[in-house]
């Protein structure tokens, strides 16, 4: 199998599993228990918190663990909305967010909040001037993702953070596709809240984290015990959290060397595709992108048919977000970038990983060429 869908998920790193194993076996105590056995779990939890904080340039008390990137997004968006309800009801986000933010904003609209969905240009970038024009005294939150999960396009989050800070507006960024992928500390983006998810960087599934800058107004969305500074109730998933910390440390350590290698392979893949498939287009290639992601459009063929064609050759790619597989609607991200529904329907996402090698890239490009040619021969368009 050739796996080229690392934006959906990544394999668990063996070293991460080794770090987790003691907490799945002997050290199964509850980190809130009042005896030494529980305290051992507490120590592991707090060490993991400090480790994550060090990886992103935060303080340990600014890290809140939860069960997924989606939950971190929900806590950030709903938590700020609830905390600042008295101050205003306006939220600004982008039209290309992951559904974890987009559908959460739609749900808040039903609760009486007003949401502005910023348009993006042909390359998928939000327009900073448009953002500024839409900020009002009632704006309480700006939420714009760091890198898009479908295209890899990096938003100008530093610029957005500066604008939000000047106006005293909280800024959240979904960093699920950048954590562990970009060299440098995530906190240097200047965001007040950052979401990430362990399984996107070779950690376990079912664990995520939210960075909460000190002083950021936020209310818990899951209530119960006093866990996670009162921001997320529920017995902590100690093995998962230990795994998240170990995986992030490994990813951050190697990001500086992995990202350029990944970019070289991605560029090789894209130039092969452009050379061999007439009319192929790369979406978002005029914008800065994370190194591992390529989003391609082909005329007159359906993305899901391409995905199945490659699957039958043992190659895993996707039509976009794994979270919307099987949704007959074309990608909201590509539509927002100005692609027609037909162009969006003929699009696939290829996302490389730490272990991807040139031979796999070549095999995928050649399978893609064969599959697109075959489907075009069948196509009625």
């Amino acid at each position: 199998m050739i796996y080229l869908d690392h934006n959906a998920t990544t394999p668990l790193d063996r070293r991460v599993l080794d770090a987790m194993t003691p907490y799945l076996t002997e050290q199964w105590g509850n980190s809130s228990s009042p005896y030494r056995f529980g305290n051992q779990a507490r120590i592991a939890l707090e060490n993991a918190r400090a480790r994550v904080a060090a990886c992103i340039g935060a303080a340990a008390d600014e890290i809140v663990f939860c069960a997924s990137g989606t939950e971190a997004d929900n806590l950030a968006v709903r938590g700020v909305a609830a905390a600042l309800r008295e101050r205003g009801n306006h939220i600004v986000t982008s039209s290309v967010e992951h559904h974890a933010v987009l559908h959460t904003c739609r749900a808040l609209e039903a609760e009486g909040y007003r949401v502005t969905y910023l348009p993006v240009d042909r390359d998928g970038l939000v327009d900073i001037e448009e953002l500024e024009r839409n900020l009002t005294p009632g704006t309480i939150l700006v939420s714009v993702m760091h890198a898009n999960n479908e295209t890899g396009v990096l938003q100008p989050v530093g610029e957005i953070a500066r604008i939000a800070r000047e106006r005293g507006i909280v800024f959240h960024s979904d960093a699920v596709q950048t954590a562990g992928k970009l060299p440098g500390m995530l906190c240097h983006t200047g965001a007040d809240l950052l979401s990430f998810s362990a399984h996107k960087f070779y950690g376990p599934k079912g664990v995520g984290a939210l960075y909460v800058r000190r002083g950021t107004p936020l209310l818990a969305r899951i209530t119960g015990g006093p866990h996670e500074h009162g921001l997320r109730a529920g017995t902590e998933n100690v093995p998962g959290i230990v795994g998240l910390a170990a995986a992030l440390a490994l990813a951050v350590e190697s990001a500086g060397t992995e990202a350029p290698g990944s970019a070289r392979l991605r560029d090789r893949f894209e130039s092969l595709v452009l050379q061999t498939i007439p009319g192929a287009r790369i979406n978002g290639n005029g914008a800065p992108r994370v190194a591992n992601t390529s989003n391609l459009s082909f005329d007159a063929v359906d993305g899901e048919s391409i995905v199945l064609g490659l699957d039958l050759s043992g190659i895993c790619i996707s039509t976009g977000s794994a979270c919307s597989t099987g949704d007959p609607e074309p990608s909201h991200v590509l539509l927002a970038m100005g692609l027609s529904p037909k162009e969006a329907q003929g699009s696939v996402r290829v996302s490389l990983g730490r272990h991807t090698v040139a031979a796999e890239i070549d095999a995928a490009a050649s399978a893609l060429e064969r599959t697109v040619a075959r489907l075009r021969a069948i196509s009625s368009l």
Binding site: A300, V301, E304, S305, T325, P328, P341, I378, S380, L381
Partner: protein
Amino acid sequence: MDNPDEGMEQPDFPGPILFYNEEVIDHFTNPRNVGELTEAETDGYGLVGDPSCGDQMKLWIQVRQNRIEKIAFKSFGCPGAIATSSMLTELAQGKPVEEAKSITDDDVVEALGGIPERKKHCSLLGVMALQAAIRDWESRGSAGGGSQQ
């Protein structure tokens, strides 16, 4: 360690996974009757689109003695659309027009041994294209005698 999922049937649940059976995959990989009929060969032509998913299908028939002598299709769409279109042409090929008219989307799905629930609407496209082609043939006024132009 034993894998508790080993040997389990793929459940037909409304989750994100789209699982196609061998028959569907075969019709997707080797679709039958793909292509176009020339204008001289064509007695009926249908073009239909599915507004819900953007799929499109073109279908040509040649009718001899009120029987579908030749059938060909081209399809833009998901694997479900391609496979159901292909199976539809197999079901219609050689059938008297009156019989072909009564082929339903359920017949196509059944012949394929089932398709995922959320892909069932795809099977309508082929049936609609065939009916459009038959209506076209009827409107050409050759119904009843068979065309021998």
